[in-house]
Amino acid sequence: MDGVLLSKLKNQIKKDSECKTMLDALNKVTACYRHLVIALGSTSDSQNLREELKKTRKKAQELAVANRNKLTELLKDKTTSKDDRAEYERLWVLFTSSMELLEVDMKRSLEIGQEFPLKVPTRHLIQTGMTGSTTTVAARAMSVQNMKYDADSNIDTADLKELQAEITQVGQMMEEMEMKVQVAPWAVEAKQEAGAELKSTLSVGNSSVGVISICEEDARSCPGDENCCVCIPNGTDSPYSPLL
């Protein structure tokens, strides 16, 4: 008897933690994808960036589908306790918020990608001051050490069609989700209180990703002066320097 209960519990915990890890992963990819889209159209833009966008996007979609399946499975189960169900609903809200951001970013990347084609005689990429590559961001999204680039040279136009189709897919998926899963998002209560981000606890679940030293460098440097336009990593730079 005990054995059965125990294995059931173990199963449950396993399901929960799987769910949370997947949600974490989706969250991470969403953040990275946004980061990449911000670089579109600027001087950081390049063939590689387009490929990174494509790969990250596909990864995001895989994760989205996996998350959706897992969560719908959990939510459809009528035997879950009230507390568990509340928790799953919270996870569901996290999932849908992530998807919303993803959908918007996908649409924007389509728009900007169309406005700034790469294979033109004179590129007019906006000189934003960003010149570095985004390969490490993409690597983080894909959870690899180094990115490999193997796309064709016309990826900037070829990818856009796929992108359009994927946007429609995502839209449909979200509509379906809303209709099928009965979760009232406004009824969910967040676990984190205001200012929770200041503490160094990490992801939604129980996996720890090591200590974040998010901006320890930034911590002390801000002179508290409102006119300081940016929090500069090592405190000694001042933004008010003359231009060369």
Partner: protein, 441 residues
């Protein structure tokens, strides 16, 4: 504006770029306000004042942001440094700033500045925390992840990123006090739910009749109209579609001299039947004139005209109706109860098609309850009924081999003319006596 910005990027003809040096880091792609203005003057051949104005707009809309004194969104024509904003952060009505994004930004800033947010930012933060509380965990998660992602870039790029974001939110932060900038998909969802709720409420409020009751009345209706249905009971004298004899249509025209019996019988089925038949209406009017209450019907007719008539004539018609029927001392004053009269008179100040509906309904029911039953009992009606004709059914052709002449029947519009011809039609009876006898009123 976006084209201007793109034109500025041209490596040969664009704005002169300089480097911004921050002690150790050097960030390229900065320009002075002066550069921008000069370029605008040259490229578009405009005056300095215009160039300053145009440049100022570029800053206000966030296409260019100042590097020094970022909160002051002006284009200074000196050596103040500016930089271009990345396309993602261009102000666009297609992509309004969402509260969710703003919340994430504030959370990020909170982390970066260890809680040292500016006053209004602190306020916005707590308002948002309450408003989108259900997704606050996500806000925190995303904020952390976004910061981790930007850590992957090199320092110069990170600085630029932060500047860009700050510039964007200085211009685009949603007005958190008034719920104008909702999360855009939430708006769409909200609207969808709002309208569905309205539809469902309306559906709930509708009167529902038990099927046992409405089926009974349907049965009654079917029984009553059984003999009047040309398909169920055949039509006299004969079905024009089969016999090519248009007598049926001729004797049932609007203003025929002697109506058919079926038609007059129908007037007794309901008040609406009487009113919808132009001959019935005419007869009823005659009756009312005898009773000195014809103004009611005139009023009703005038209101119908108002409801179904031309829009351009509405005001005119309302005035006339008022003059003739509602004004104190009017020639054909109608007797409406005081409340309805008040409401109608109020409404006349802003006339529209349906302004007379209440009064019209009142008069309609007055006639229906009072004059109509009396009409049905009156001599006038009984005489009409007695006079009404019952056409004889055509005899079927005796010669089975005779082929029916196939020719197209004249359209009902020409029936009045064909009345003469139909004297020859088979067994069409008293059609010949039709339009000449009864006087038209």
């Amino acid at each position: 504006m976006e084209r201007v910005i793109v034109a500025m990027q041209d490596p040969d003809m664009g704005v002169k770029m300089r480097n911004q040096r921050l002690l150790i880091t050097v960030i390229p792609h900065a320009m002075t306000g002066n550069d921008v203005i000069e370029w605008l003057i040259q490229k578009y051949n405009i005056t300095e004042e215009e160039a300053r104005h145009l440049g100022g707009l570029l800053v206000q809309y966030g296409y260019i942001y100042p590097l020094r004194d970022p909160r002051s969104l002006l284009l200074r024509s000196d050596d103040s440094p500016y930089r271009f904003q990345t396309p993602y952060f261009w102000t666009s009505s297609r992509w309004p700033a969402s509260e969710l994004d703003y919340a994430i930004y504030l959370a990020k800033k909170n982390i970066r500045k260890q809680g040292e947010l500016v006053d209004y930012e602190k306020e916005n933060y707590s308002i948002l925390h309450k408003r989108i509380n259900h997704t606050w965990d996500f806000v925190v998660m995303q904020a952390r992840e976004q910061l981790r992602a930007s850590k992957q870039r090199r320092k110069a790029d990170r600085i630029v990123l932060e500047c860009q974001e700050q510039a964007y939110w200085l211009i685009n932060k949603p007005c958190v006090n008034m719920p104008l900038y909702y999360h855009y998909t939430t708006t769409i969802q909200l609207r969808y739910y709002y309208y569905t709720t309205i539809i469902h409420r309306r559906a709930l409020g509708r009167n529902r009749v038990k099927s046992s009751i409405c089926l009974e009345s349907f049965m009654k209706y079917s029984e009553q109209y059984l003999h009047h249905d040309p398909i169920m009971s055949g039509c006299l004298p004969s079905n024009p579609w089969i016999s090519d004899d248009t007598a049926h249509w001729t004797i049932n025209t609007d203003m025929v001299g002697t109506p058919t019996r079926l038609r007059v019988e129908r007037w007794s089925f309901s008040f609406m039947e009487l009113l919808n038949d132009s001959m019935g209406r005419r007869e009823f009017m005659i009756y009312l004139e005898k009773e000195f209450s014809a103004e009611n019907l005139c009023f009703w007719v005038a209101c119908e005209d108002l409801r179904h008539g031309e829009s351009s004539k509405i005001i005119l018609k309302v005035e006339e109706v008022y003059k003739n029927f509602l004004a104190p001392g009017a020639a054909r004053w109608v007797n409406i109860d005081s409340k309805t009269m008040e409401r109608t008179l109020e409404g006349i100040k802003r006339p529209h098609r349906f302004i007379m509906d209440d009064a019209q309904m009142h008069i309609y029911f007055l006639m229906k309850k009072d004059s109509y039953p009396r009409y049905l009992k009156s001599e006038l009606y009984k005489n009409m009924l007695a006079k009404a004709i019952v056409p004889q059914e055509t005899k079927k052709s005796v010669f089975p081999f005779m082929r029916r002449q196939r020719h197209s029947s004249p359209s009902p519009a020409m029936v009045t003319q064909a009345t003469e011809d139909d004297g020859k039609a088979k067994g069409a009876g008293p059609t010949g006596t039709s339009s000449t006898t009864n006087s038209q009123i």
